[in-house]
């Protein structure tokens, strides 16, 4: 047993699970590679992983880091800013939710699927950009109100004499 583990690097169960799983996946892949547009499929499959891991994730991480640095500086200068109530997550949360909505619904918000949408439904997709902006404003507005309430609560805690 330990001889197997030394040579393979994991338990026999690890190998068995992978052989069975990869066999099923290989069968499914073979079905796809027999299709007319298999190159296009393969491109999408690999691009999905690469775009996420090497573009989307680094991009939002960098945006988060830059925004965080800017906000740390801003926070100190802000009149009445209270260091016990960090502002970063009050920007992060609405920005992230709004960003995920854009990521999911960008075809309707930005309109690349218009012709096919019209032929299926009989009308053009309209109002999606407006609705997304509206949701974004509500998210940021709601977050700002919560932030101000927290700052006020922190201030009144500080100014009230210790009991």
């Amino acid at each position: 047993m330990s001889h197997f583990k030394d040579r393979y690097g994991a338990s026999p169960l690890h190998l068995i699970a992978h052989v069975i799983g990869l066999a099923i996946a290989a069968y499914a892949l073979v079905q796809l590679l027999g299709e007319k547009h298999w190159v296009n499929f393969l491109g999408w499959f690999l691009a999905a992983a690469l775009l996420h891991d090497l573009v989307l994730l680094p991009a939002y991480s960098a945006a988060d880091r830059i925004a965080g640095a800017v906000m740390r500086r801003l926070h100190v200068r802000m009149p009445g800013g209270d260091l016990r109530v960090p502002i970063v997550n009050h920007v992060r949360a609405p920005a992230l939710i709004s960003g995920v909505l854009l990521l999911i619904y960008f075809p309707l918000i930005l309109g690349p699927g218009d012709a096919a949408y019209f032929s299926a439904t009989g009308h053009h997709p309209s109002g999606y950009l407006r609705n997304w902006l509206l949701i974004t404003v509500v998210l940021f507005g709601g977050s700002a109100i919560i932030y101000m309430a927290r700052v006020r609560a922190a201030r009144s805690r500080r100014s009230s004499p210790p009991t």
Binding site: R7, Y8, G9, A10, L13, H14, L15, A17, H18, G21, L22, I24, A25, Y27, A28, L29, Q31, L32, E35, K36, H37, W38, N40, F41, W44, F45, A48, A49, L51, H52, D53, L57, P86, V88, N89, R92, A93, L96, I97, V100, L101, L103, I104, Y105, P107, L108, I109, P112, G113, A116, Y117, S119, A120, T121, G122, P125, Y128, N131, W132, I135
Partner: protein, 422 residues
């Protein structure tokens, strides 16, 4: 001989979030896993709801298909398909923030050094490529398809179906292989205990040596419960802006981003259309006064005008059309029972029905109804909806409507029904 890792993300000091660690990934995985299972199961149910076992219905070659048949009795409520497919789409959308968070939590592993540690590590990394590629492919194609953004050349149904098997096979392997890690993390730290920590008490996980725990952690800017709250908030927002297209009612007004969230007027034909009369290539002559329905079984064929159909006994049922894209609509449909048409031409017992549209071409111009669907009391060749004749976009002069039948199999502008011994 071990080489030093290249600069950048391959350096162990590059990844600094103090939140990453086996416990966090276990929690995200424990939430994501059941969601994936439900999405896969409802996807399979949808695949089978098209009755691919009936000749002419299958998009996936049945000889090569490996899916078990999971089919509900036709006697179940008419909204059963709308429910399972609504879950497939809505849960799929709601799961996206969780999927992104899960991938974020394990990103350092992509840049492990050395790139391959052992045979086991190599085979596992191959299966992870299928897992991550498969997950992102399935979610991306599904999300784009419900918005009619066909940004590819391949057949969506075929690619989404076989892609799901690639993803699901790799998913099951991942669950088996990682279960011990999850159990160990929960034993070491408790299932929910780290959620008690606020920002001040948020420290890196004590699992020293685990590749997810940072060696040079930065100061935390959010607690672990804050991160989960953020994921939950994103999921809840998606749920609110999409659910209305599936359940209707007052929620439809909230479906601000749902592809089929539009609120129509109050007229009897004012509900969602899938494929307009114009895009189906139906000319006025095809559905004008000269339109006839041809009904046949064995050697007998009967040709019926719309007036003759209206002279037959009319039945009214409240039935739901569920679309594979996740939206649904429930209306009062009136027309002739499919079973009455079968009796009219002396169809053999337990016959299936091949229904063809006058639509000259197109993917779903024809569909085959199962024996249960043919004999079901509620299966109609509808002539009216909500008390008025069908509008052309809704299938005038006649369309099929049957319980639990995926929307595109509720054939519109029907020209021919052929009953065949099953």
């Amino acid at each position: 001989m071990r080489s030093d890792p290249p600069p950048g993300p391959f350096q162990p000091t590059f990844w600094r979030s103090p939140l990453r660690g086996p416990w966090l990934t276990s929690v995200l995985g424990s939430l994501l896993g059941p969601a994936i299972l439900i999405i896969a199961l409802t996807g399979l149910i949808s695949h089978d709801a098209y009755h691919p076992e009936l000749r002419g219905n299958a998009t996936i070659d049945p000889a090569r298909d490996i899916a078990p048949l999971i089919q509900f009795p036709a006697s179940w409520p008419s909204w059963i398909y709308a429910l399972t497919q609504g879950i497939h789409i809505t849960l799929g959308l709601v799961t996206i923030p969780l999927l992104l968070a899960k991938l974020w939590s394990v990103i350092p592993k992509l840049f492990q050094w050395p790139a391959v540690r052992s045979a086991a590590n190599a085979i596992e990394r191959l299966s992870l490529l299928l897992l991550v590629g498969g997950a992102l492919f399935e979610f991306a194609t599904g999300v784009l398809n419900i918005q009619y953004a066909y940004l590819w050349h391949f057949n969506f149904v075929v690619a989404h179906y076989w892609g799901a098997w690639v993803f699901f096979a790799a998913f099951l392997v991942h669950v088996v292989v990682k279960m011990p890690v999850v159990v160990r993390s929960y034993r070491a730290r408790g299932v929910l205990k780290p959620l008690r920590d606020d920002l001040l008490h948020t420290k890196p996980e004590p699992a020293a040596g685990d590749s997810l725990v940072p060696v040079a952690p930065a100061a935390p800017t959010i607690s672990r419960r804050g991160l989960l709250g953020l994921v939950g908030g994103a999921s809840l927002t998606i749920l609110l802006v999409n659910l209305g297209e599936s359940v209707g009612g007052p929620l439809r007004r909230l479906a601000l981003l749902a592809p089929r969230g539009r609120v129509f007027g109050t007229g009897p034909n004012d509900f969602q259309v899938n494929r307009t009369v114009a895009s189906a290539g139906i000319t006025p002559a095809l559905i004008g006064p000269d339109w006839r329905l041809s009904v046949s079984a064995r050697a007998r064929t009967v040709s019926l005008s719309r007036e003759q159909l209206m002279a037959m006994p009319q039945r009214t049922h409240e039935l739901t059309i569920g679309c594979v894209e996740g939206w649904s609509t429930t209306q009062h449909w009136q027309g002739v029972r499919i079973a009455d048409l079968a009796a009219l031409v002396g169809a053999p017992p337990r016959a299936t029905a091949v229904v063809e549209s006058v639509q000259p071409s197109g993917l779903y111009r024809s569909a085959v109804l199962s024996t249960e669907q043919v004999s079901d009391e509620r299966s109609l060749l509808a002539l009216h909806v909500n008390g008025v004749p069908l509008s052309p976009d809704h299938g005038y002069p006649a369309r099929v409507i049957a319980p639990g039948l995926p929307g595109v199999h509720c054939t519109k502008w029907v020209g021919r029904v052929t009953f065949v011994r099953s």
